[in-house]
């Protein structure tokens, strides 16, 4: 199926993203594709833990709500949906979409599910000697604590699913920009080794993948960078020509703005070397990208290129990394900083006395030195918030830390208020590189 141009919208930039702008985009964007990117680095490990507790869970918790919102409109308009909301259980996510469709009285819905990113078994068998990226240690150093291992699949892994007549396509871990590249390759017939073309497709994907972050979200700085109607921020879409040239825009009348400035911030967001953006499909080169105005809320993005794809695939490994115990307490008015500092000393002493003084910890005052060093604080604030966070080996230790902060009520300086405490199990992420043939792709059509 070759078209001269297509329109792709971004319906989410992270798992908890707002749903109303996605519906607005579905209704008024005249989209060919609506893509939901919902899988952060360790989200899939958390989903895997959930799946172990309940076999019918482990996919995005907002999947049903998102589908209820956009499915009727997308089906009526012929807009196909593509998402990594399958997380650690794409097949069950596919069944969930059918359940929602049934509930809405929608018939003829088909869901294509792509699996194969989960390489945990293979890693445990053959991969324990692999070195962890950004570390000297091998994967075996985490062996007893491993939760999940998911390869970043490329657009090539999605193409068989796009070739079916499924209206909804779900996957787990796929490189975020590849969720947008796949429809472009599918519609325009781009070759899997046309590196400059794929690089331009990755550019479009990268610009769209954080949704509202390119339409004026995460941008406003009053008096310097003002954004109109930010409360009703619209989500972005790209109008893409067969040669890969693209205009980033949004639905007319929606809030926010698409300008060269918003697009430049997003273009370089989380990019290290702009000439070598490593992706499973291509090493994209953004170093010569140009962004030019093309009318109100329209920016043209051109000039990306690419080099041959890497030989290996990156795998994110989720692992147990102990616990964090945290507590906060507020102080206000004259002397609030001195009382906050006294409180920090007390908690530190008490945690030492409990035998936990050697653990990695943060003792800080929000309002003074929690985000930037204390040396930069110039004026005394009228309120501060004590924060203590300690990395512990056990849940009980973390609970002790949290309780010591709360206990400042009756055992600390005067007039502390608004205590909060939290104990959380840490699921951390590391990465290894694996041979491409360790991924065994599987595509299933449901419905």
């Amino acid at each position: 199926m070759k078209q001269s141009s297509i329109r792709i919208g971004a319906g989410a930039g992270y798992a908890g993203d707002r749903i109303a702008p996605a519906l607005e985009l579905a209704r008024h964007g005249q989209l060919d594709w609506l893509v939901f990117e919902c899988l952060a680095e360790r989200t899939i490990a958390l989903a895997q833990l959930e799946r172990r507790q309940q076999a019918d869970k482990g996919f995005d918790p907002l999947l049903a709500e998102r589908m209820r919102a956009v499915l009727p409109t997308c089906l009526a308009q012929g807009t196909r949906i593509l998402s990594n909301m399958g997380a650690a259980n794409p097949l069950q996510a596919g069944r969930e979409v059918l359940r929602v469709a049934h509930e809405l009285g929608l018939s003829g819905v088909k869901v294509a599910v792509v699996q194969g990113d989960d390489v945990l078994e293979r890693l445990l068998t053959d991969g324990l000697d692999l070195p962890l990226i950004d570390s000297d240690a091998p994967l075996s150093s985490l062996q007893d604590r491993l939760i999940s291992a998911n390869a970043y699949l490329g657009a090539d892994a999605l193409l068989p699913a796009l070739q079916t007549d499924a209206q909804v396509i779900l996957c787990g871990r796929v490189a975020d920009p590849a969720l947008f590249l796949a429809p472009l390759m599918h519609h325009f017939g781009w070759a899997a080794n046309d590196w400059p073309q794929l690089g331009q497709g990755i550019l479009i994907g990268h610009l769209l993948e954080c949704a509202g972050q390119i339409t004026g979200g995460y941008f406003a700085d009053p008096g310097f960078k003002d954004v109109p109607n930010l409360a009703r921020l619209g989500f972005p879409m790209a109008e893409v020509q067969a040669d890969g040239s693209a205009v980033i825009t949004k639905v007319a009348g929606s809030g926010g703005c698409v300008t060269v400035a918003t697009c430049t911030e997003q273009l370089l967001y989380e990019i290290e070397n702009p000439a070598r953006y490593l992706q499973p499909d291509v090493v994209a080169d953004f170093s010569q990208v140009r962004l030019t105005p093309d009318g109100p809320d329209r920016v043209r993005a051109t000039g990306a290129s690419g080099q041959p794809r890497p030989d290996t695939l990156k795998v994110t490994v989720g692992y147990h990394d102990g616990y964090i115990g945290e507590g906060q307490m507020g102080y206000a008015g004259p002397g609030c900083v001195a009382r906050g500092q006294l409180a920090l000393q007390l908690v530190r002493q008490r945690i030492q006395d409990a035998g936990l003084g050697q653990l990695e910890a943060r003792y800080e005052l929000i309002g003074v030195n929690s985000l930037l060093p204390q040396a930069l604080a110039t004026t005394e604030p009228n309120e501060v918030r004590l924060r203590v966070a300690v990395r512990t080996l056990t849940r009980q230790q973390a609970q002790l830390v949290a309780n010591e902060v709360e206990a400042l009520y009756t055992n600390g300086p005067a007039a502390g208020g608004g205590a909060t405490k939290a104990v959380r199990e840490v699921v951390a992420a590391a990465a290894v590189l694996v041979p491409r043939d360790w991924v065994q792709l599987q595509m299933t059509v449901l419905g």
Binding site: A275, A361, P373, A429
Partner: protein, 100 residues
């Protein structure tokens, strides 16, 4: 004057590294930003936060400088004890740097 008058910034996170983008509001200011905002000067500005080296890439056609701040995120977002584990707030701190 402060950088804030001339440019806007955004940070992102990659493991234990922070990416820091500086974008001139006006293309004519890019040259002096490129001259004055060296990797070393940025590293000094983030003293106590950035423990590793700083790498810089220039994108003149975008009026942008891209910095990579190594060992800047207390181990990275998935295990950091920091309140702002992503280092999202770090971008604003650069706006306070002096530019001639």
């Amino acid at each position: 004057m402060k950088l804030r008058q001339l440019a806007h910034t955004r940070t992102g996170d990659k493991g234990n590294r922070s990416t820091l983008t500086v974008i001139a509001y006006d293309a004519k200011d890019f040259a002096r930003l490129e001259t004055q905002l060296t990797a070393e000067r940025v590293r000094t500005h983030y003293h106590g936060i950035v423990l590793g080296r700083v790498e810089r890439f220039a994108l003149p056609q975008l009026g942008a400088l891209q910095f990579v701040l190594y060992e800047a995120l207390a181990g990275g977002v998935t295990r950091s004890l920091a309140l702002d584990a992503h280092g999202k707030t770090l971008s604003s701190h650069l706006l306070n740097i002096d530019i001639q």
